[in-house]
């Protein structure tokens, strides 16, 4: 098992590197650059050139990528050793400025637009918040979705089933842009419950990202955005749980369990539930993707200082380092999420053994 996990992690490294390269190149192929301004805000040409030099944007792309991944130290070193390589004069001149120690040493580089700030700082501030929102949303999706699915499967075609399908369809079809403002209007504005905007949890966080869950401030701010984000997923999970349980309940081994004289509750809980959650767990991987990407909109609506904002604005700003690093972090989250799903999967289903 441990060997499997290590191998999966090692395998993901080239994938992540390729992805980083793709984003790196795609962003730079977009017209315009980080220091192009329009109208009266535009900078004098010499200032732009200085800024670009400051961030190595005058270097050939390959060297820029090398600086991002390996750092200025190693890149400069290569160019000192192999000075005949094209572009090396620029590199040798610029490497001394030292904008990045390199991804491999955990340095995500300097933000281009937020003057004087490192991407590491931005991420350290905003990632825990996005992560907390994502986790609470997933928890809500599971806590609502799984029991709803079970109830409708066990009372198939009853009013419980019909009303939960109704809720599920409703949850799936209301977009976050509608549900979020609607919740704000109902709860904080009309009923005076919960917070309108912002985030309640303050650092330091346990292990860097876990907030104090006994703090009402946290929940006051988290509950509405998490419901907004979680509802649609709870609907997906409910439908999946229902379908899966309905199929499992027809399996031969369920008949065997009943033939043993077990009570129906035990048959369901002990013999059907674990099996029926296997397909549900399988979709949690892609669902994590959806939760992560879904946070952009919800963070905007609720004014949450999460990472979604950086992701969106950095594209418009052509903030190359921020967008590349944020994408990379999302990808690492996804890889980790999928790996965790696989581990849970193996734990639920003994037929699956990773080796």
């Amino acid at each position: 098992m441990l060997a499997y996990i290590i191998r999966r992690i090692l395998w993901s490294i080239p994938v992540l590197l390729l992805l980083t390269l793709t984003v790196f190149l795609m962003m730079r192929s977009l017209p315009g650059g980080p220091f192009d301004f329009v109208g009266d805000k535009s900078l004098p040409k010499s200032v732009v050139e200085n800024l670009e030099r400051r961030h190595h944007l005058d270097w050939p792309l390959a060297w820029q990528f090398s600086s991002y991944v390996l750092g200025d130290g190693i890149t400069g070193g290569i160019c000192t050793g192999l000075s005949f390589l094209p572009g090396c004069e620029l590199v040798q001149a610029g490497a001394r400025i030292g904008v990045s120690e390199g991804l491999i040493f955990g340095d995500l580089g300097m933000a281009l637009k937020l003057r004087g700030r490192t991407v590491n700082e931005l991420v350290a501030e905003s990632l825990p918040i996005s992560f907390q929102l994502g986790m609470v949303s997933m928890a809500i999706a599971l806590i609502i979705g799984v029991p709803l699915g079970i109830m409708s499967a066990l009372r198939q075609n009853s009013w419980v089933d019909y009303s939960s399908s109704f809720i599920a369809v409703l949850g799936l079809s209301i977009p976050n842009m509608v549900l979020g403002p609607l919740l704000i209007w109902i709860f904080p504005l009309t009923l005076g419950l919960f917070a309108i905007a912002g985030w309640g949890a303050r650092p330091p966080f346990f292990l860097g990202f876990i907030p104090n869950i006994f703090d009402w401030e946290f929940w006051k701010h988290a509950i509405l955005p998490a419901i907004t984000l979680g509802t649609a997923f709870s609907a997906t999970i409910a439908r999946l749980t229902r379908a899966s349980l309905l199929q499992i309940i027809r399996e031969d081994y369920i008949r065997t369990a009943r033939a043993k004289g077990l009570r129906e509750q035990i048959v369901v809980v002990r013999h059907a539930l674990k099996n029926s959650l296997i397909p549900v767990i399988t979709v949690l991987g892609p669902l994590i993707v959806a939760v992560v990407t879904g946070t952009f909109v919800v963070e905007q609506i609720f004014g949450i200082p999460g990472m979604g904002k950086h992701f969106v604005t950095s594209i418009g700003n052509r903030d190359y380092t921020v967008i590349t690093s944020v994408t990379l972090i999302y990808s690492v989250l996804l890889v980790t999420g999928n790996l965790m799903v696989d581990i849970v999967y193996g734990w639920l289903d003994p037929r699956i053994r990773y080796s």
Partner: protein
Amino acid sequence: MAPLLDVNNLTTHFYTQDGVVKAVNGISYSVDEGETVGIVGESGSGKSVGVMSLVRLIPTPPGKIVDGQVMFNGQDLLTLSKNEIRAIRGNKVAMIFQDPMTSLNPVLTIGRQISEAVELHLGMDKKQARNRTIELLELVGIPSAADRIDNYPHQFSGGMRQRVMIAMGLSCNPQLLIADEPTTALDVTIQAQIVDLVKRLREEIGMAIIWITHDLGLVAGLAQKMIVMYGGNIVEQAPVVDLYKNPRHPYTLGLLASLPRLDEDRPKKLLSIEGLPPDLVNYPQGCPFYARCNYRIDKCADTPPQLKEVGVKHKVACHVDVQTAKWTTEHPYEEFNLM
């Protein structure tokens, strides 16, 4: 002495979108203590539904036991409360099923699956139940049972899984074991091993057995009494020797003719019964076997034959005496479809 199990006019239907499926249509038979009864018939003839109805394991809806009585130890199982019938299932009446690949829960260890029945019915604690489970696994011939108790079903071969199923069935010393085609999914050599195992266990435990199969050859050495089912009805019922030596229903004749025989110099061509079983939704008005019967006469088309005694404990539901009658048609099913 009253029989252990006395089934009377048991009738089970399924209420589906396509109509009422008349799966079991008033079957009556009895099983004595320690007796082994074989039930044969082609697939879809209501064998499984018939036995599952005994302990009310029919999925409801769509299934419903619409009529009948199932007297077991003097109690009508069909009128018991849910709790009462559960106390009998897996305890006094145990079942083993056809496909050992799908009949065991893949995510629970076999030890857990056997001991849960023991804990429930024999009131044992976890430790006692575990010891009992190991004993049972040894009893059914699982090598190094103590090590394998914590294995999952997929770690066993088909034959071994069926042994596990048998251990589970016998875990509470049942008075009646219902085996629904327990060997159909297994290799021929393994089939023989399972039959031998059940024979041995029957001697040790002394339970009665209902053994369902569509293989007449297999039950011959096991059963004392045979029941032949067709279209949800019992068409013939006889002591085992009688049935093989002296079959009285055209369908039984057909089943026997389709069996390879070792006692003939040259094996004759294997026959299979032409045609399809009756439509259980639009059930035939007369004899259900009419469409496929070589011996049919006009009466058979509209009058369903009743089961009647033709010998000692030998009953048959047929208007014709096949011992004296001649074939009335060579290709009944083709002609039937032209009618």
